[in-house]
């Protein structure tokens, strides 16, 4: 029980540290490029009809920059929500969950034009090396 509590405190500590760190140093410009035509001046989040719901549900506990610096698939965003629900007391989003996921999947999907100076090796065909 004490172990579990410590773990939770540590995790929250790390999370807060991460937020503080990125507030101090800012985020990578490449990952915060506005994908939407317009963004909210205060949060930097993309403006669309569901912006207000997303802001309410997602920026109560952490900086909007934690969203801005990531590009995930819908399933990956869902797993972040579940993780926050498991570990950080995020409430049940109820009917707004779909709205939030739609918004995130639309504006913060994996960026196909992201620049990598070396990609991960792809399509490796594994085979046993005989000696």
């Amino acid at each position: 029980m004490i172990k579990k509590l410590l773990l939770i405190i540590c995790t929250i500590g790390l999370f807060v540290a991460a937020v503080q760190r990125e507030q101090k140093y800012g985020t990578k410009p490449s990952s915060t490029q506005a994908l939407a035509d317009s963004v909210d001046a205060e949060t930097g989040l993309a403006l669309d009809p569901h912006f207000a719901i997303v802001k309410a549900q997602c920026t109560g506990c952490h900086s909007p920059k934690l969203i801005l610096q990531h590009r995930f698939t819908r399933d990956e965003w869902l797993s972040k929500i579940r993780w926050m629900q498991r570990n950080h007391k995020l409430w049940d989003l109820g009917e707004t969950e779909k709205t939030v996921l739609d918004y995130l999947a639309k504006h913060y999907a994996p960026n196909q034009t992201a620049y990598s100076r070396r990609e991960a090796l792809r399509n490796v065909k594994w085979y046993p090396l005989e000696k």
Partner: protein, 410 residues
Amino acid sequence: MKETLHNRRGFLKKSALTTLAGIVGTEIVFAENMPKNHVPLAFDEGLKGKHPDMIVLSDKPWNVETPPHLLDDAVTPIERMFIRNNGLVPEEKIDPKAWSLTIKGESVKAPKTYTLSELKTKFKTYTYQLVLECGGNGRSGFVPQTSGNQWDQGAVSCAEWTGVRLKDILNDVGLKDDAVYIGYYGKDLHPSRDPSKVVISRGVPIKKALEDETLVAWAVNGQELPLMHGFPLRLVIGGWPASVSGKWLHTIAIRNKEHDGAKMDGQSYRVPRQPISPGEKLAETPENFRIIESMPVKSLITSPKSGAMLDLGKTLSLRGHAWAGDLGIKEVQVSIDYGATWQKANVQPPKNRLAWQHWSAQIQLPKKGYYEVWARATDANGVTQPMVIPAWNPGGYLNNACHRIAVKAV
């Protein structure tokens, strides 16, 4: 038509292959490597005598590259030699007995023509192993993408070429003092089939042309040149973009200025004189772009093939080649921790100047799991291959970033 030939993923269906095999009377072994949704009309010279695992980037003109593990031989066999054609292979029947080479231009005392048999008998014959690498080898690594064949790593070969020294021919012809550059002319056809259009006519400064290893060649690996590689006569100039090694050679012009043939201008085989940011636009002027000369230092891991799984505790033997344009190789190193630490490889001296050098190393993988083996070479001047993609340029040339393979200890 297409619906019946290709499957959902754009690859040729088995049934289509059988039909095609009936037409051309041979099994279509390259189906998997063809561009998606491509309809092969019939098989011509392009892949004749080539290894089935060669990668077809284009079939009109033929541009075919070699996967790195097929470049393991010390001397590249023809079946594993990449093809880079700018135009179409000559369609007329070539009679080597009737073939001749003419040397002309502003800087010859008088033009002179030699038959192929005269070349073979009049001058001393030499054989050299020479690295031919496309200036655009590695182009697919550049972001933003640049136009041109999206070569991965395999637009390079080192075969054994036989012919006569260009300098011996030029001595016999007699040059004026104002010779600056050479320019070749070949018999390849413009893709439009317009005979008045020259596909490619490039060259090198006279100093490079007069090097011992600059050959007018009629044989490779001890046999007659294949049609795809320039039969019956070609230039072979190692260490520079392979586009200076003209195929189906019939004329060499000795120029009193930089050669101005097809693909010598604009950004063809040129890079910006000043470094630019990725994607930056630059007017295609000689003030902005310089001709690529000696190719940069590079290496390949040719054994094992990427994807090798070996039992933990077994030693992994690595092999490959390294080359550096006009220069020799000072050192090759390998890393299994993304460049955090490097281990020196054994490097053999080159067979001759401008040949690639073979390297080998033995490594131990410390625990089970996924590793990448990276190799990097350093040239005689101490310049090393970058691990990341080097300077972006509009033509997508000179990507000499380290090659790497994936291995697993299980």
